[in-house]
Amino acid sequence: MRHSSALWVVLGWVGFALLPWFSSAATQLSVNPPGAGLAGSALIDGLANGRWWLLPLLAPLVAGVGAVALPRHHSLHPWLLLVGGAAGLLWTVVQGFAIGLNGWNWPGLAALFGPLPQGQGAFGLGAALTMTAFLFQTTGGFAGLGCMKGDRFTAGAIGLVLLSIALFVFLPVGFVLSSAGDSGAGGFSPLALWTRLTAPDIWRLNCLYENRSCGVVWNSVFLATMTGLLTTLLGLAFALVAVRTGFRAKGLLRMLTVLPIITPPFVISLAVILLFGRTGTVTLALADWFGIPPSRWIYGLPGVLLTQTLAFTPIAFLVMIGVVQGIGPSLEEAAQTLRASLWVTFRTVTWPMMRPGVANAFLIGFIESLADFGNPLILGGNYDVLSTKIYFAVVGAQNDPGRAAALGIILLGLCLGAFWLQRRWLGTKSYATVSGKGDNGVPPALPTGVRVAAFATALPWAVFTFILYGMVLFGGFTENWGRNNSLTLRHYRNAFDLTWGEHGLIWAGRAWDSLFTTIQVAGLSAPLTAAVGLMTAYLLVRQRFAGQSAFEFFTMLSFAIPGTVIGVSYILAFNQPPVELTGTMAILILCIVFRNMPVSIRAGVAAMSQIDRSLDESSLTLGAGNLQTIRRVILPLLRPAIVASLVYSFVRAITSISAVIFLVSPEHELATAYIVGRVEQGDFGLAIAYSSALIVLMGAVIALIQLVVGERRIGRRTTDRLALQEKPV
């Protein structure tokens, strides 16, 4: 117990006195002290280069030494650690934000304390290490005072999770809020915020009375409502077919539910263009047979609505399957024994019990649609929605971060509202009747009308979906879809060419760079996501501490933050000191980790709740510490959940687009961003070839994992379903 706090005290000193305090990123070389290593440490810098504001950190560091030097169980020991660590942490953060590249960041401070001789760069290795040391000193102090049952590991883990969520979720969102109110002169002005938030092109209602487009909010809300309705309807039909009829090819329907996991979100758009675009198969056929001239009708509301419905119906299907299966057959049997006909049973028992689930599916579809970025980007045409507006406000000619931030706030508000509603519904109105008691009833058949309607809706849609996926896989092999349908391997060669040069193998294809980066990013972020997620799940399920429900709320909040908002917030927050990450691979990894973390948490919570608490407790009474208990008891029992979580994080890291498209850089290009770039250039062949390669690659990865861990299916399906149901948007 004791040596761990001593270790952190030592590391704090190392970070402060030995390692370079500032990051050596290129933008700050000019303000960095000359030389690296010792010369760059905070101690040397503070003494020699006039950055006096670094020197107060000596006080908490000395306090740490004092604490360690005290005799064991001295009552002052935890207090010294706690106060010292917290003060050190606070001072590091405050000075980091207060003093930027050019001195004081806020004019008020300059007026108060006078100008500074020089500014400072972003935190580097030393600052990171010292801050970590301060953090663990603080949590160690808390534990020493008897919090968390005196357990250092738990206290440290909670501190670590909280600090990282604060840094990588709340700080960026805070930057969005403040830059929406940016007055243009570096200050915050409520008036500017109000002007931006109420801009007429966001809220106007022209489309109701004249032939002009409405505000972007109304566009988004209308699209999201329609998508929510359609996906719910289709999902319900699929679920009824899959659960309540004798339909044979249920395996095929199940496959539908896997597709959205392995499909980059915009791929459906590409397929739809292949069918209904100006040179699409259907368009050409209609022109040939009926003389209907090809048009661009697909670009706009119809196209986006169609693709979103296609893309999100499987998610509604998954939700609805759970709902329909959750209705205990004995209730319906009871209704029948009370002389209710099939139809009356459905109307008075089955449907009312499904209603909360249906509402839930609608809200999920609504949120998904609001947050969707890829499809509106490709097919939106003149139909603007919030997510694409945000993107163009940042990358377009306007380059107006304030406007992007304002739009981001509105989108965030809509999503949080829907998320809140959904939680309320799930929490209070769930009629799921599956309990520990055996329910041996057989669900009654559906009334004929309902059955016919379900089949008539679900089957054509399923066929349509499979046709579209077929088009994607096939489209990559044609020369120029619609114009010249001869088969070719040109696009694949373009993307994935390999040649032998004088130095051996040359990865000549244009896709290799982004593919390798993608796999690298996904491969690095997957274990991190799983680790952070499972650790948080452990804290939520296995530990009891004050403020736990608030802690849970914070960790789940990043669910409801749309990817575009995250993307904008990351570039706003991390392109300047004290934390400067723009253009690095780290920012991609962090973004992906914290976006996918809630899924990992859910999977971990679900799996961990099934392991009886007395197992940990018996391990503790047998003398194992928390860490040992986790390693020897919990982790082995969690293996299936870990694998599921790893696979899911890996695959989602590959398919995500909405957030990372803001963060990619020429050195660190990701596959999805690259494909979208190709589509914008009109290079459909390469885009489609690359997309189908990704789908096949991920399908293979999932199949391989299924094969390897197929034997251990304990709770796997549940985690999978949960994961999908609650994926971040």
Partner: protein, 360 residues
Amino acid sequence: MSIATNASGVEFRNVTRRYGQAVAVNDVSFSIRAGDLVTLLGPSGCGKTTTLRMIAGLEMASSGTILIGGKDVTRLPATDRNVTMVFQSYALFPHMTVAENVAYGLVVGGMRKTDAAEKAAAGLDLVGLSGYGQRLPSELSGGQQQRVAVARALVLEPEVLLFDEPLSNLDAKLRRKMRDDIRDLQQTLGLTSVYVTHDQEEALAVSDRIIVMNRSVIAQIGSPTDLYRRPRDRFVADFIGGANLIEAELIGRGDGVAAVRVGHAVLPVPDADVAADLPLGGVLLAVRPNAIRLRAEVGTGNGVPVTVRKATYLGSHMEYGLTSALGDLFAIDTNVVNPVPAGTTVTARFADDGVMVVPR
């Protein structure tokens, strides 16, 4: 390698455990001698399990001091206390073999693998399960799993061994056997054990001393005989052995006899069994069901006329529900050959050795 004993005493000084506003254990003090088996007995929600978990270090006291072997362990987490526990659910690790389960505490404590295995084998031998080491817990019966849990707790040679309702998942017959086995093992090894149960019969059978808890506080501490013969209040009288509580009046004490008026009759009760500080006046007479004797004759001497409301035949004895001027009574009679039929009126007399006086 054999299992040694490190038995230590346990002492609680004014220990309180709060959950927010709710108080689970309220200002509890007691001490347990080394080598004793002490039972925490009480209805569910009385705080007995919380008390046990505070000894284990799985719960932290909100205030007060906990001593084990004379050392203050109040702030020490479970990991650092030399206390082991047998859980209600056994809590055997399902992914480890029986031998690995038993050796777990030794291995995480840093013992060499071979030594740990040897000691685990000794532990399994002690509970009569040698040869089962390579099985998985799921391949054992409930009683065997229970033994594994005991062996796993024993091999660490704990200062205190805790049992949290260890028999509640076993059927009645096995429960009796395991109860005796646990008691034998505890006495043979001279272990300090704390045992939680809500079954008063189990508590009476295994304990050196019993701590009866009710509503977060200790109702009474004593040996099984103490508690049965000299309950301090109506709760203990009723909870241990069951009792008919009858409004009465203490009218005089002296010559080793306390006189109690019940209705019109005056009953002599041994004064030694009546709390010395009990003032004269209104009291409750606690009458054990088996101390009520039914006589056919009506209206003689000290008897109370009662009407048999219900007569239940239970093989070894009869259970009677009685209506009387004193209220409804419950009686047990071993005379099953000539039971009193329901509906008849008879006289009930109270046998001396089953009548106690407790405050109202």
